[in-house]
């Protein structure tokens, strides 16, 4: 499955690049906005449907409770700590570096937000680091699920409510759906505030 995903991702990148650079007046937003959001909404509906139909998945969910709160908290902590260590390694401003990883993988947020607060260099870093987190999650799901069922959820950060959700559910099982979605949702809600708070300390 991961082969198809990477292939389609690569085709998408190339097509997007060609459309942007060589097709004059191509309505990019048809794909980046309508197709993206449209397929995401359909996907969430279908996955909700699959979850609702499954008796076992609902039973397993009853034992979830604590995970819904603990997972995003630990992911936030781990992400910021990762930024701190990376800042020490590359001798960057530590608050700047922590603000980058506090995007939790949401690169369309972290990029513009950091550009606004700390300038384009940090914006580029915020864009790239968080994009690579998303990519890393998609690519490593099949490996990480062997470590722990919730490891891909931790890896995905804020992206586990949308882009990486289908891949994670496919590998980790339907009962992970609610934890993954709620963790991603909580982190998505927190990301703008955490990024701004940490970035303002530089």
């Amino acid at each position: 499955m991961i082969k198809y995903i990477l292939l389609v991702l690569a085709v998408g990148v190339v097509t997007g690049y060609l459309a942007d650079n060589f097709v004059v007046g191509f309505p990019l937003s048809w794909v980046t906005y309508y197709l993206f959001d449209g397929s995401l909404l359909v996907l969430l509906f279908v996955m909700g449907l699959a979850f609702g139909v499954d008796r076992e998945a609902v039973a397993k969910l009853r034992s979830t409770g604590l995970r819904v709160l603990v997972v995003p908290l630990l992911v936030a902590l781990g992400s910021v700590l990762g930024g701190l260590v990376a800042g020490l390694i590359f001798r960057l401003d530590l608050f700047g570096s922590m603000a980058v990883t506090a995007g939790f993988g949401w690169y369309t947020l972290a990029g513009p937000l950091l550009t606004q607060i700390l300038g384009s260099q940090w914006g580029a870093l915020g864009f790239a680091a968080n994009f690579l987190r998303e990519l890393l999650t998609v690519v490593s799901v099949s490996l990480m699920v062997k470590v722990d069922k919730y490891a891909p959820v931790a890896a995905g950060g804020a992206t586990t409510m949308d882009t990486t959700l289908p891949v994670i559910v496919r590998y980790c099982g339907k009962d992970v759906l609610i934890v993954a979605f709620s963790s991603g949702f909580t982190l998505s809600m927190a990301a703008p505030f955490v990024v701004m708070a940490i970035a303002s300390l530089t």
């Binding site: 998408g12 449907l49 609702g52 781990g78």
Partner: protein, 91 residues
């Protein structure tokens, strides 16, 4: 300052779960095949978004290494904490 459109994503998920409850016990089409098809469309759109984004493509070569290490460490510590908590707290 904050994009409330993320809240919209809860609607189709909740709607899907509700429909699933109603349809429970009936034979439905192979949902995993449908899901996979839609995933591929979404991943294509994701790739397209990246490929058509000047800023992102331009930023990758100059900040690539530090960005990659940042992503790797953020993922590493996140996974470490969650796995540790699952072992210790047994949740």
């Amino acid at each position: 300052m904050f994009d409330f459109s993320v809240l919209v994503l809860v609607v189709p998920l909740a709607l899907g779960i509700a429909c699933g409850f109603v349809l429970r016990g009936r034979k439905i089409v192979n949902l995993s095949k449908v899901t996979f098809g839609v995933i591929l469309v979404l991943i294509f759109a994701l790739g397209f978004t990246i490929g058509s984004n000047h800023d992102l493509l331009a930023s990758l070569p100059s900040v690539g290494v530090s960005a990659f290490v940042m992503a790797l460490l953020a993922v590493g510590f996140s996974v470490f904490f969650v796995v540790l908590a699952r072992k210790r707290l047994r949740f």
